[in-house]
Amino acid sequence: MPETLLKVSDLHGWYGESHILHGMNFEVRKGELVTLLGRNGAGKTTTLKAIMGLLRQRKGSVAFDGTETISMAPHRIARLGVALCPEERGIFSALTVRENLHLPPVLREGGMTDAEIDRLFPRLRERWGNSGAKLSGGEQQMLAIARILRTGATLVLLDEPTEGLAPVIVQQIRDALLELKRRGLTVLLVEQNFRFASTVADRHYVVEHGQVVDQMTSDEIAANTERLEAFLGV
């Protein structure tokens, strides 16, 4: 069994006065693709932010590759090899596709080269010189993922990559994620679309009210679609 890359224990988190995370417990092993499933407001995005260090008020334990990161600043966590692809995607409209892609510094070895990224995301190559503002949602998502792959990050936190995207684009995202798995990257995925999640992920944690309430395999997901539909409101 591969070793644990990320272990989250009793993670609590607050936005100001609001207590969002009430003790999250889960782990992700090297090379796995694990999903956090849950309704809006369950605390999935907040969990990713907490892991990345962007949630200032947090308590508990987040161990990445053996290192405790609960009190670290986000840029230090990034340098350990954690990368976040947020829901808003964060593509800078003032920069071209190429500039966006090359913006994050290459922090560690093992990142993808430009050639490899071209092969993985041919659509982006066509848009090389375009301003970031002119990309479609799907293209922005691919650019956001590609951007991280250059840096050599080993754990990728993906927040709702398929939200608002057409099915044909969702397929391309799926292919990209499977390619990441093939290359040995570890991915923690946040999704509401559990059907999509079950086609890429190994395991799924169900999150409610800032806590992990259940763990399921993809087969169990397939067997429980109706219940999940009702629960997740999708």
């Binding site: 600043a73 986000p74 990034a78 976040l84 947020p86 409209s93």
Partner: protein
């Protein structure tokens, strides 16, 4: 050369040059304000006082340590920038999550402190600072003193160099990205808080550098900053804060307009910039080069 509407060319070009010099300072100071505002979202009211401190640092370096102008040009901005580093780290950082008007108020308080301390030590009258480049050249249509030419040339270089770093280098790209989405840039592994501190220090250093340039031209006095900064605010409102090049162009441009006003309608010369501000507000509230908000 021809005489324009009965005004001798000497007077016209002389005033134009003075206008360009004023414009140099407007440009440098509004550039510093724009850089600080872009990343910190704080209006650095202390900017005028820091400009004054730069001039005083040059004066003190000369009169207490015997360091002449060319040394002061390098040392004074570094000294004052260091104080800026402390200010950001100790005071401004804790206000970061609050309404940005608190930053304005804090820097206003700092301006009062700086000005009060200098005024209590050195009085309100100005002190002279020797001209390091005496003499000049007669160009026919006007006489160009070397030092004045130096001010204009130096400030152009400084402004364009700053523009280049911000708009054309990787460091500038990080700065601009952090202005838009600081969290994402942090998640790239870049120490954004430190970048913010250094950016503030840079803006302050820029103001101090302008102060050193000003010392031989105007007198060194504790009041030199506060009168200037309010005009610079008007310049910034006119130009809009969104664009670095906009700040530079507006600064130089308004200086020239002010100079021309002095030739044709002298009574209005100290209010013309404010009048333009009022007009711009009515016609294009975001400023000439500004982006909305």
């Amino acid at each position: 050369m021809m005489e324009l509407i009965g005004i001798p060319p000497q007077a016209l070009f002389g005033q134009l040059m003075l206008g360009l010099i004023n414009g140099s300072f407007y440009a440098m100071l509004s550039l510093g304000l724009a850089v600080i505002f872009g990343l910190l979202n704080v209006i650095n009211f202390a900017h005028g006082a820091q400009y004054m401190l730069g001039a005083f640092a040059a004066w003190m370096l000369l009169n207490y340590l015997g360091i002449p102008y060319w040394g002061a040009l390098v040392i004074a901005p570094i000294l004052v920038a260091a104080t800026g580093l402390v200010i950001e780290r100790v005071f401004l950082r804790r206000l970061h999550d609050l309404d940005h008007l608190y930053g304005l108020l804090l820097t206003f308080g700092l301006a009062l402190i700086f000005e009060g301390v200098m005024r209590s030590q050195y009085g309100s009258a100005g002190m002279p600072y020797g001209n390091p480049l005496p003499g000049g050249v007669n160009l026919g249509f006007m006489y160009l003193p070397w030092y004045r030419g130096w001010i204009i040339a130096a400030s152009l270089v400084i402004c364009l160099a700053t523009w280049f770093v911000i708009e054309r280098t990787k460091l500038g790209a990080y700065l601009r990205a952090a202005t838009e989405r600081p969290e994402i840039v942090q998640s790239f592994g870049i120490d954004v808080p430190r970048m913010i501190t250094l950016t503030y220090a840079f803006g302050v250093g820029l103001a101090a550098l302008a102060g050193v340039l000003a010392a031989p031209a105007y007198q060194v006095s504790p009041n030199m900053g506060s009168n200037l900064i309010i005009v610079v605010f008007a310049v910034v409102v006119i130009g809009g804060m969104g664009s670095i090049m906009g700040a530079i162009v507006t600064g130089f441009g308004l200086g020239v307009i002010e100079g021309l006003t002095k030739v044709f309608y002298p009574e209005a010369s100290n209010t013309v910039i404010f009048v333009i501000m009022a007009l711009v507000l009515m016609v294009r509230p975001a400023g000439l080069f500004g982006t909305a908000k």
